[in-house]
């Protein structure tokens, strides 16, 4: 790559505004969080906190009453369930939209991609309304068929609440996969289809041995990105359940995923003495996991520029 030759102080002048800004708003918060994670800083001990080494990490990872692993598992379960649903729904819709014999393709395309355009924060609140027990339309529809006593406690039952936030996330995210897969499908040359037909391949065989291998290179980065985004999801789930429903005061709520857990331990209404040091250790551990996932992801597939810019816009 050709470079320009300039004086050293010119380089400094060009870089300084960015580096100064980043030092204050990017670097310092991270380093301070790292520092906090080695102290016993809490709301009550804010005047006389001290360095306690790795005690917070020990408590987080090895203590029996630590919520870390339950929260981590339920987050990972959420990621796996959501991403599988994205893949299936995205693949089916993309295949349907790629079929040129369907009439009115532009119409179907706009309709099926509409959830992507809707601002996710607002739609999360709309979905909360839809799940509402008494006035929510889902239960109203159920009452049409099963009588006035009918009611599904969507957001009140732990399992149903988990399913609800999966449904909402699928609604929000499948269009991204539809677009990615559709783009890959349209890159498959038509001759392959001809060749496969002449060789006597059925639709399933064609899908399994031609479509899938050709779509996979585009799917891998999209899947990794989406897994990382879902892992650190806060907005949508919090706006719908606040991490609840909470069954027992000692256990985290059924939809209390890592970010929500962290947030609730600091700003939650029931937390009298937020233990900032401990939460900082939680945050640093999460960052290590995220960084490892990102690193693994960037090794698995070259990240497509389209995918990452979309992630930025969606975040």
């Amino acid at each position: 790559m050709p470079m320009l030759r300039v004086k050293r102080r010119t380089i400094v002048a060009f870089l300084l505004p960015m580096l100064a800004m980043m030092a204050v708003i990017n670097l310092w918060p991270i380093l301070y969080t790292l520092y906090l994670s080695t102290t016993n800083y809490s709301e009550f001990s804010s005047d006389n906190y001290r360095f306690i080494g790795l005690e917070n990490y020990r408590q987080l990872l090895f203590s029996f009453d630590s919520d870390f692993f339950p929260v981590l598992w339920q987050t990972l379960l959420y990621v796996v369930v959501c991403v599988s649903c994205f893949l299936v729904v995205g693949m089916l819709t993309a295949l349907a939209l790629n079929n040129s014999r369907v009439k009115g393709l532009p119409f179907w395309r706009v309709v099926l991609l509409l959830p992507w355009a809707a601002p996710s924060g607002i739609t999360a609140l709309i979905w909360k309304f839809l799940f509402q027990y008494d006035f929510g339309p889902f239960n109203q529809i159920g009452r049409l068929f099963f009588g006035p006593q009918f009611g599904i406690p969507w957001l009140l039952n732990p399992t149903l609440a988990f399913i609800s936030v999966v449904i909402v996330n699928v609604w929000l995210s499948y269009p991204f996969f539809t677009v990615v897969i559709l783009g890959a499908l349209q890159g498959i040359p038509g001759e392959l289809r001809e060749a496969a037909r002449i060789d006597g391949a059925g639709p399933w065989q064609y899908f399994r041995h031609v479509t899938l291998p050709l779509v996979t290179p585009a799917l891998v980065p999209a899947t990794i990105l989406s897994a990382i985004t879902t892992f650190q999801m806060f907005n949508t789930v919090f706006l719908i359940t606040q991490g609840g429903p909470v069954v027992s005061a000692l256990k985290p709520g059924a939809t209390e995923f890592v970010m929500i857990y962290m947030y609730n331990r600091i700003l939650g209404a029931t937390v009298a003495n937020p233990h900032y040091g401990f939460i900082a250790a939680f945050a640093i551990t999460l960052f290590i996991i995220l960084a490892a996932l990102t690193y693994l992801g960037s090794g698995l597939g070259a990240r497509s520029p389209r995918a990452s810019s979309i992630r930025e816009a969606r975040a």
């Binding site: 010119t10 960015m18 006035f135 038509g190 520029p305």
Partner: protein
């Protein structure tokens, strides 16, 4: 799915292939019975598309119709898919009794300033990373990647203390400052990647002719990079408007809640003792329509590859 071409054309194709290979002209077995299967397949396809369309549209449709419905339609256990008594009262109330315009104004201000701050702080730095060779360049690029993987939410406590020190708590500018953390990193990558693709010869010529590096940057590079800058601004602008957690950390609602961003405002409507669903629906519709239009406008850039930010290098 497998048969895209009309049957007639398939036969011709088949025939020509058979001529070349010299095999029998019989169609493969099962071709005749698959006629029915094909028709059933198309029916299934339309059923699937319809179900997906209902899934995609229902929440949006429901909130639009709810915004025109009176309370008697909303606070009932029966299903109403059409407003029985069409009314604009919800819209009127949203504008007159709720500080909706303040929420929209605050959000536009925060997102706009974030985009601006991201550009101002990052563009010259991105130029330096794209064009100059210096010690620590590789390190800076790697650090940018690492920073991008760090969600701002993890540093919640640190941000709180930072804003407290700067006296920016409960101030929209404090929110701008936090959001800028992501915006600077994103804009820098986006612009740097774009500049990597621009020829360096123009600037070299300008420097030979006696221009200072700043003049070359200002008069040559900036005009050429305008599309990338616009896209970066658009994306950072869009990043902020759904954000809840950090906004909730920084902003405390005042007496009538006029200092909030709209996502906080809509949330506060829902957390009321008695949720005013109709007003909430009307406010959601008002806010969503311009946002969706902007999104459709911005969506063209996803395809054109102009936005190359993120981890793409």
């Amino acid at each position: 799915m497998s048969q895209q071409l009309p049957v007639v054309e398939t036969r011709r194709e088949q025939a020509s292939v058979n001529l070349v290979v010299g095999q029998s002209r019989r169609l493969p077995p099962g071709r005749r019975t698959s006629r029915l299967g094909k028709r059933l397949g198309m029916v299934g396809l339309y059923v699937f598309l319809t179900v997906m369309a209902i899934f995609a549209l229902f929440p949006l449709y429901y909130v639009v119709q709810a915004s025109f419905a009176g309370a008697q339609n909303l606070y009932t256990t029966d299903l109403h898919l059409f407003p029985a008594h069409f009314t604009l009262a919800n819209y009127v109330t949203a504008f007159t009794q709720e500080p909706l315009l303040n929420w929209i104004g605050n959000t536009l201000l925060v997102c706009g300033l974030t985009a601006l701050c991201g550009l101002i702080c990052s563009t010259s730095g991105a130029y330096a990373l794209a064009r100059f060779r210096f010690a620590g360049r590789e390190l800076t690029l790697r650090a940018l990647l690492a920073l991008q993987a760090f969600p701002g939410l993890l540093a919640l406590t640190a941000y709180y203390l930072l804003l407290n020190t700067l006296h920016l708590l409960n101030n929209l500018l404090g929110l701008v400052l936090i959001y800028s953390a992501g915006a600077v990193v994103f804009s820098c990558w986006n612009t740097k990647t774009y500049l990597d693709g621009l020829p360096v010869e123009l600037e070299q010529a300008a420097l030979l002719d006696g221009a200072t590096p700043f003049q070359a940057f200002w008069h040559i590079v900036l005009p050429l990079a305008t599309p990338a800058l616009a896209v970066a601004a658009l994306f950072t602008f869009m990043t902020g408007w759904n954000e809840f957690a950090l906004a909730n950390l920084v902003l405390n609602a005042n007496a009538n809640g006029s200092n909030l961003t709209f996502i906080l405002g809509l949330y506060s409507l829902q957390s009321d003792f008695r949720t005013p669903w109709g007003i909430f629906a009307a406010a959601s519709v008002i806010v969503s329509i311009p946002l969706m239009l902007i999104f459709f406008f911005a969506q063209r850039y996803f395809r054109s590859g102009l936005a190359q930010g993120g981890l793409a290098n």
